[in-house]
Symmetry: D2
Subunit: 412 residues, 4 copies
């Protein structure tokens, strides 16, 4: 049996997460690079054994080909070197070791589309004019790039992963709730409530390519596009990768609830120095992220304590996210207590392996004929589509059950 | 139908946890004291609903009578006032509000027994001679006190809770593994490997009174006594209440495992100023606690990172435990990261509601005819008897399933 | 020789700091209350000895009488009890112990004036109309109250301390720089750039009563009023008491400078739950505080790192200020490092003793015939008037030299 | 005028601090390497200006030649590369950039002597026999190496810096207090209370070469050797470089004292993963360091709070020292408060520039004809010889006054 050949299409292909995905995949293909598997859930003992897919036989890392869309100039190699210099966000020497591979990927990167992306993202590509094409024409242009990638590389499956800068939020009440209502709005830029991330999402959906939205941008997280995905038979996973502070919240808040301790206030400050942080300095774009981070507390606790989440761009920290959280709670008889934590994580190194895991997992959904939001993947996201619980422990058990084939996952 | 009358017998009846149990129970019986239910798992929405017992109908807090054993002089009211003064370990005014109730309990407190309890515990009662009675005679003396408590208060059920100071550890290889081997050793002080906590445990077991061991002392945590409990039909729950740093470990370590992040080192320092801390200043007694705290990390992660746990008596902190944990871990491609947390909790206020919850829950086991270690109660303990998992999330789901009657819990 | 009788007039006389001053002064007069002297610099060994005034002989705490202005309803006893309940901001029992004394002070509290105080302060006294009097009339009204206090209590000296809620900032360019320019503007409300704090300040200055401005409000911190103070012979000390995070900055930033370590970024988050915090929730009022906290970093380091200061009202924390600071710096060869600290202080208990110290110290200035800004008192303030250095160590040496009489302090 | 040529002799020449000194000095000689001057006090604006030496004219970094003693095998280049790999303790690429320079220094490194150095240090050079020479013979051997270094490199001045692993402590009561008593003990190994660090110190003293003892080992920190240094005209600076947690203590403890806040307890935990940490894992060697770190608290505060200092070797942290300090203190009326800090510093990068500063500064002492302990250098040490104050701010002012020539410094 010949192993399948798979493609992973990265939207935001020269960003920090994308560059780490690229270097990491190259490193995984190298013999004996044990450190590369750290952080990969599909490589961990918890998803291994007779009940689970033998990924390394059926979907080895070497069977994946990368390509993508990007709006910025520059090369992937430059992006990787920048991560090395940023306080060791990539271990020293890896960028150069895989320079040839990175160059090859670079040649498969196509110009991305900007559409209602907001001024912060426009500022990444100064001077570059916004296209005057209709949203529908942009979708078609993206689809053409996706199909060309599949064909020229003779791929059996292609996964699309949105890793581009966070867009401003899209108010729920501007979004039609059915595909029939949304569809005609794509014909005129002025009438279209979607932004670029949703155009990428729609292109993937209509091409039948499973979609991962790792960003807080809307992507396919709305009823009309979920409906479209079910109709096209395309599985969806989103949105906003759960890598740091929110991951901690999703294990700590359930702990308070299960001990019946009363959370009075939860304050979280996030310092961040990379390009993602710079885009998030824009209040509009930041709103998307904060909404995504803040909402789940009340869902996890069953009531809403006073809460505060900030994201602050601190240039000198580079790719190192520092989060400080202060939780004030009461115990028996109302006695006040506190928990504080400081998380010092490297954002790209936390995100990239999850993107690779998701690529593997969503092809499983495709092979099982599941479509629309795959709620078994909720453990990976801050604002999971179709999730049944926000408790990370519960989400993880759901993931295991689904991967082992015990349960189906698509929502309908 | 007349509601049952229940007794809770506290070993270490004038300690910090016991005094908080006493004040808290009095407060719970008062109308409108909402703060009193904070921290009670059996009062939380997670254990409420049609599938769960209607505790407040069938086992209202007012149906419980307290008594206990204690080796120190003093009164329960003094112990409660001490907690108030210790930086607010009890809210101001509660001790005096319930002075009459506390006095009544005091009159039901009987002299405790010391047996191989170690020099730190002996130092709590200077000048008081150790009894020369045989271990078996001490067990009989305890049983007589327990039965007198049941009869003179006309109680339907009595639960025994060990809340006394931590004893030195008992090496596993000094303990016979069957009751037939252990039994004859009780006839001579010199040959008996057990300490006082296990004599209390045995007395409860042979009296058919469900036993809670909230301390790191051995109690009934050995094969011979578990066998005896099964034979006598007595349910067991132990050992070492999981209230602070270890509770956090039991949610955070699984998080690292489920993200495949590699923990390199986990250092935990615990500062503590109360009488418990003073006893734990003795290296022997501290050993019991540290073993209990440290062991579970390897079980939770699947491998043993470098680890360190300290407990340090810092007088000025009173009942306020401060724990600082530093976790050094690696992500994708080996990138090093850290998580630190500081936990500032009031130990007695964290422990007391769990003791009350356990009292309710273990009577449920008795009513269902379960005996020996009740593994569904693992979520409450650092070193749970008969537990199936050390992951707090998993333990809690097990608890819910058992309480709702879906599953039985006793090990055999 | 008969000891002098002194008055301390508190503007904001039922606030948290004022109530702590009142209870503390009562407690200091009690025999054997050693805890009361903690935090008093004038009682410390560093300001004791043959070179220093014998305060307790010449200016014993019992020689001070309190009075003040307040705009809110309520009593001082209520204010003190509120502090007790707020997580122990006052030790339990003190409010009631000194109830009679507090009542007596209450009878000496006069209605305060509001003038351009901002909406957040207006909200403290809902429904109460703003006076239509001219600024000059308000100053005269305040002076009348001050003089009545001095006369009816037969005081030898009166110190005025501004402890009222933080006002919005007053832009420097709206302030005339000489008294001759400022003076005529007091005749019409519309033309007057000053706010209430400066009217209080002017009243004290013109009454020859030494002034302490413990708040970030303008008070006498402008050239025109300093000129007026010199002319009237009144000593000034201000502004904004240095009690917590900023105190730490003023010892830590010099440490970085003296080790030639390069601070890249300094982020400080302050959580605060009392009435002061509530007023500071108003962006206008908060601006005054943040400006005061942030400016000194660049002065201390000699360059401006990226910096961020926030103040966030978190109701459940009561009078407990929690500050988290994250300092990112570089060492030799550019190696990046971090320092983080968490400060958990009780704001009123930190502030009140400094107010008492300042009262003692500024009478010394008066007795020595010094007038205008007393720069030797810089160690007490975030934005010191006339200071020579922002380094707390240097400021403290200056204080010692001045108190011991080695140096004069007034600026001109 | 021809600039002087200077030598810096490193004892422990392939250790982490020494390797960073070597790389840093090479980097400083390179044009345009601005990052290299970070952390150098003699390059900071605080020691610059008309009153201060023009170091870069009179004692440029390029005028220094390195050599040293070492007991371990290996090369300096390997040591430097190890630092690079250890989480970026040296910026990437520096070791290789200066490979030729490092090789040249390596050729000037001579075999060190071990004498009563303790088992942990012996374990660094497994299999290597301890010399049977008398202490005096070892001193002569060291002197011969020092003089050969001076002559073969035609050096005008040579400074000796002890940077070797921490030895076990030497009890004060085993040390004679005069040179006449100590001198004869050097003739027999069995009678000699000194360890290797003191033999190095004596050799430097008798060779008239200024001595820096950056370690907690005894070196010249005893009356007899200080007397000898005065007799030989040799300036001394020691002991134990103040780089991290203790530096913070020396600014924070004075802050508490100057605010009259009462420190109840001060707990400090130090995690450390490098070779220094491994040697400090030995309880004997650790004792030296802890004594040095702990003693100064009582001196700074004027009373001894409960205190605790630990040093724990955590391998995965490499050269990254993490210190967590928890200070529990009381304010006005006894209200309890806390300060916590976490310091994450790279030990070698903190130490190396201070060694270079000290080399410059101690030659100044020599040129001014000062001998014995130079107390103006106290700011650099945890246990300064002849210091007048432990307050870092005061020490720094003393340093400035001395460097600018206003004051002499030698003790007698
Ligand atoms: N790293 C994490 O831990 C993490 C976690 C959750 C979510 N995310 C999200 O992942 C995304 C990527 O993060 P990052 O750190 O790589 O950011 P980044 O800024 O380094 O990369 C984003 C890239 O997207 C490109 N881009 C922007 N708009 C585009 C468009 N319309 N089409 C194509 N390319 C476009 C940018 O030019 C940039 O190169 C962000 O939205 C971030 O919020 C990251
Ligand atoms: N509070 C927590 O968060 C927590 C968590 C887990 C375990 N524990 C354990 O619970 C126990 C009680 O803690 P505490 O804070 O109340 O301690 P404590 O020291 O305040 O109380 C213990 C009491 O037990 C009494 N005692 C000692 N030996 C006895 C004996 N042989 N018979 C009868 N009485 C005896 C002592 O006199 C004392 O009054 C300790 O073992 C502690 O380690 C507490
Ligand atoms: N506590 C600290 O550590 C600290 C440090 C520095 C500065 N300060 C400043 O001290 C001031 C007092 O702090 P607090 O915690 O007592 O605040 P608070 O809010 O408890 O008290 C302020 C009082 O001032 C009164 N007030 C407001 N406007 C007034 C006016 N125009 N005339 C008379 N009274 C008026 C209010 O009604 C209130 O009772 C604030 O400005 C605060 O920023 C406090
Ligand atoms: N780095 C800091 O922040 C700091 C601060 C204060 C003190 N110190 C002290 O500085 C010293 C050096 O620290 P490091 O991190 O470089 O340690 P290190 O272990 O990396 O280096 C010490 C070197 O000394 C060598 N050595 C041991 N005994 C010797 C002897 N008798 N003769 C010659 N060489 C010998 C060892 O082989 C080793 O190479 C230690 O004593 C440490 O405690 C360091
Ligand atoms: Na990133
Ligand atoms: Na206050």
């Amino acid at each position: 049996m010949v192993a399948k050949k798979r493609g992973l299409w990265l939207v935001g292909a020269r960003g920090g997460v994308a560059a780490t995905v690229a270097v990491g995949l190259a490193e995984l293909a190298r013999a004996g690079s044990e450190a590369a598997t750290v952080g990969l859930v599909t490589e961990s003992p918890l998803l291994a054994g007779p009940d689970f897919p033998s990924w390394n036989q059926e979907a080895p890392w070497s069977s994946w080909v990368l390509g993508g869309h990007e709006v910025r100039a520059g090369t992937l190699l430059e992006a990787a070197r920048e991560l090395e210099r940023q306080n060791g966000a990539l271990p020293v020497g890896l960028a150069d070791r895989h320079a040839t591979t990175l160059d090859a990927i670079d040649r498969r990167i196509r110009p991305g589309v900007r559409f209602r992306s907001g001024t912060a993202i426009d500022a990444l590509t100064p001077g570059s004019p916004t296209s005057s094409a209709t949203p529908r024409a942009l979708v078609e242009q993206i689809k053409a790039d996706l199909i060309a990638f599949r064909e020229s590389n003779q791929l059996d499956q292609v996964v699309v992963a949105i890793l581009s800068s966070t867009e401003p939020p899209t108010p729920a009440d501007t979004l039609p709730t059915t595909w029939d209502q949304l569809n005609p709005l794509l014909d005129r830029a002025e009438s279209c409530p979607l932004r670029a991330s949703s155009l990428y999402a729609l292109a993937a959906i209509e091409s039948g390519m499973p979609l991962i939205n790792f960003t807080p941008s809307l992507g396919a997280s709305c009823a009309a596009l979920e409906e479209r995905a079910v109709a096209c038979g395309t599985p969806l996973a989103g949105r906003d990768g759960k890598t740091g502070e929110t991951l901690l919240k999703s294990v700590l808040a359930p702990m308070f609830a299960k001990r019946a301790l009363r959370v009075e206030s939860w304050v979280g400050h996030n310092l961040l120095g990379n390009r993602d942080g710079a885009v998030l300095a824009d209040p509009d774009n930041k709103r998307s992220k904060i909404d995504s981070k803040d909402a789940l507390l009340a869902r996890l606790l069953g009531y809403a304590p006073q809460s505060l989440v900030s994201i602050e761009p601190i240039a000198s920290l580079g790719d190192w996210k520092t989060a400080w959280d202060h939780v004030h709670f009461r115990g028996f008889l109302g006695v006040p207590m506190t928990l504080q934590f400081t998380w010092q994580g490297c954002d790209s190194a936390l995100a990239a392996p999850l993107v690779l895991d998701l690529a593997r997992l969503i092809t499983l959904a495709e092979e099982r004929g599941e479509a629309g939001p795959i709620n078994a993947l909720a453990a990976f996201f801050k604002s999971p589509q179709g999730a049944v619980s926000d408790d990370f422990g519960v989400q993880f058990e759901r993931l295991r059950a689904w991967v082992s084939g015990l349960e189906r996952s698509s929502v309908p």
